[in-house]
């Protein structure tokens, strides 16, 4: 079983975000990027499958700040191969373009299964998984939280609202959009990542030229101004707790 995981680096939402002078893009000069959290689950799912059935795992991304650390972290989790697409991705890349760019590199790896996160927090033109699937001519199932195999098919758990799960059969090779790995992404010690930096190597994928300004025509990007924000309760935890008790009593829940 040959598994390829594709991941994206996305804005860290814990940090404050700001808009650049042009008003149509995030200000990327101070933007901290982290692995898209669903992609982290996709890596974990691939590693779980490696442990269960001996799959070979290749992790693929593109050249952008912070990506080497994530790739070496994947190696520390026992991913077998690391690939980074060279190119000028600094200004960000939309999913349609990324799917087209990354297609050739993935095809050459001849995967049985391609995993990626079901969505990214900066998706403005659809999600990467289904775009990759269509570019590769493969079937796609998203919102997946469990993967097994039966002959030439993957049997996947697809989530629907209300806690309902559907067991779906998907012909292999296939692309899956991972919502959650079967167990949470594992923690790896920094020392292990450092060791991976010495022993593992990052290969370069096919160089790519990004097409300029394809994708949605952004007129304006802004931080939402909220009409009615929460009434903030000030004070230390004790004062806040006292006020909350009053509110609970007013609501009749205490």
């Amino acid at each position: 079983m040959n598994i390829v995981v594709v991941f994206k680096m996305v804005p860290d939402l814990v940090e404050e975000l700001s808009i650049d002078k042009g008003g149509k893009n995030l200000d990327r000069s101070w933007l901290r990027l982290i692995i898209n959290e669903f992609d982290d689950h996709a890596i974990e799912q691939a590693i779980l499958l490696k442990e269960q059935i001996g799959a070979h795992v290749t992790v693929v991304s593109y050249d952008i700040d912070g990506v080497d650390d994530v790739l070496f972290t994947a190696a520390a989790k026992e991913a077998d191969r690391l690939i980074k697409l060279p190119g000028d991705f600094k200004g960000g890349v939309n999913n349609h373009t990324l799917a087209r760019c990354i297609k050739k590199t993935i095809k050459e790896l001849q995967p049985d299964l391609i995993l990626t996160g079901v969505q990214g927090n900066d998706d403005l033109d659809g999600s990467l998984g289904p775009l990759l699937a269509e570019n590769l001519g493969l079937p796609y199932v998203g919102y997946v939280s469990g993967v097994q195999f039966s002959e030439n098919n993957a049997i996947v758990k697809k989530e629907f609202p209300g806690g309902l799960i559907a067991n779906m059969s998907v012909n292999l090779p296939a692309v899956l959009g991972i919502q959650a790995s079967e167990s949470p992404p594992r923690y790896v010690a920094v020392s292990k990542v450092r060791q991976a930096m010495k022993t593992a190597s990052i290969e370069e994928g096919e160089p790519v030229e990004l097409e300029p300004s394809s994708g949605p025509n952004i007129v304006r990007m802004y931080q939402p101004e909220v009409a009615q924000r929460a009434t903030m309760i000030e004070g230390d935890e004790e004062e806040i707790a006292i006020k909350l008790i009053e509110i609970f009593q007013e609501l009749g829940v205490l």
Partner: protein, 323 residues
């Protein structure tokens, strides 16, 4: 290209999903700008009964046993054919476990633009704009609709579902399906959610924990508060993914929609997927150390404080208040 607007009707096990009505409401907003008709697209098997309250001018219905349950392959194939044949100005999909599996594929297959996570359709100086939400609700983006066949995925928040309902049923136009015998994805079976004695959808007092709770041990503290207040503990997605609470306690897009009298959100940032599940709550109180957390935009009361310190204080005070 025609000026008609397609809305892909989402339904699951015999009921129409809320997002369908929201999309219909958006489509009616859009035809005010562009003209044209609102056309619902229903794929199913023996599913005509689902259309009675849809606010659409017409429903195109494709009936086939392979479409009785959602199959991404079956939907993609059927919808790609319909869209390339009819060339609607816009086709709406839910940004949901159904729509998000198919919209991007159709966009790549037919070479059409896709605008993701649209919350509202509006018009600014004669330009038709889709107002989209990214970065967990922290950033809004206005995207101009191109003057060509475009796909849009829709999220809740901009329209009420009643706006997409009507008393007069639309006329139905049954069309024949494409070849659907060799689908690459198919349903084997549904696995019912674990039945619990507690259904959080019906609980009046919910204490809800998110990533800010930090460790599994801290869950106990929140549980203690919930018990003291005769409430029930529930959570946002990351907590359930960690295995700290069962799926039956998950609130949001792939969990339950709740309508509590009091929803106390502890360390929940308020990502759109979570907010979707709590908009019907009467009073939301949010505790978070991040002042820019979007949860404060929908909460009635908020406090920027360490939640563990606060919960300990609350436990003491609730005990006192109850004597």
């Amino acid at each position: 290209m025609t000026n008609d607007i397609f809305v892909v009707i989402e339904h699951l096990r015999g009921s129409v999903s809320d997002i369908t009505y929201i999309m219909l409401a958006a489509a009616h907003d859009l035809v005010k700008e562009t003209g044209g008709r609102v056309i619902g697209i229903l794929l199913g098997n023996d599913a005509q009964g689902l259309i009675s309250n849809l606010a659409a001018d017409e429903v195109i219905y494709v009936d086939h046993p392979a479409l009785s349950d959602f199959s991404s392959d079956g939907y993609q194939r059927t919808l790609s054919n319909l869209i390339s044949e009819h060339q609607p100005r816009v086709a709406f999909f839910g940004n949901t476990t159904i729509g998000a599996d198919i919209a991007s594929v159709i966009s790549a297959r037919l070479g059409l633009q896709l605008i993701n996570s649209c919350q509202k359709i509006t018009s600014i100086n004669g330009r038709v704009i889709s107002v989209c939400q990214i970065c967990g609700g922290k950033i809004m983006v206005e995207v101009e609709l191109p003057d060509e066949n475009t796909l849009i995925t829709m999220i809740p928040g901009g329209y009420k579902s009643e706006e997409g309902q009507s008393d007069s049923p639309p006329k139905i136009n049954t069309v024949s399906p494409p070849e659907l015998d060799d689908l690459r994805t198919s349903l084997i079976q549904y696995i019912e959610p674990e039945e619990e004695d507690i259904d959080i959808a019906n609980e009046p007092i919910l204490i809800s924990v998110g990533r800010g709770i930090q460790t599994e041990d801290n869950i106990e503290l929140a549980e203690e508060l919930a018990e003291l207040m005769d409430g029930v503990l529930c959570a946002s997605r990351p907590i359930v993914d960690q295995g700290w609470l069962p799926t039956s306690r998950m609130v949001g897009k792939s969990g339950k929609r709740v309508k509590a009298k009091l929803y106390l959100a502890l360390g929940i940032s308020g990502a759109p997927e979570h907010v979707e599940g709590i908009t019907d709550c009467e009073t939301i109180i949010a505790i978070n150390t991040d002042p820019s957390a979007p949860i404060f935009d929908i909460a009635k009361y908020g406090a920027e404080v360490d939640l563990l310190d606060l919960v300990e204080e609350l436990i003491d005070l609730v005990e006192e208040a109850k004597g």
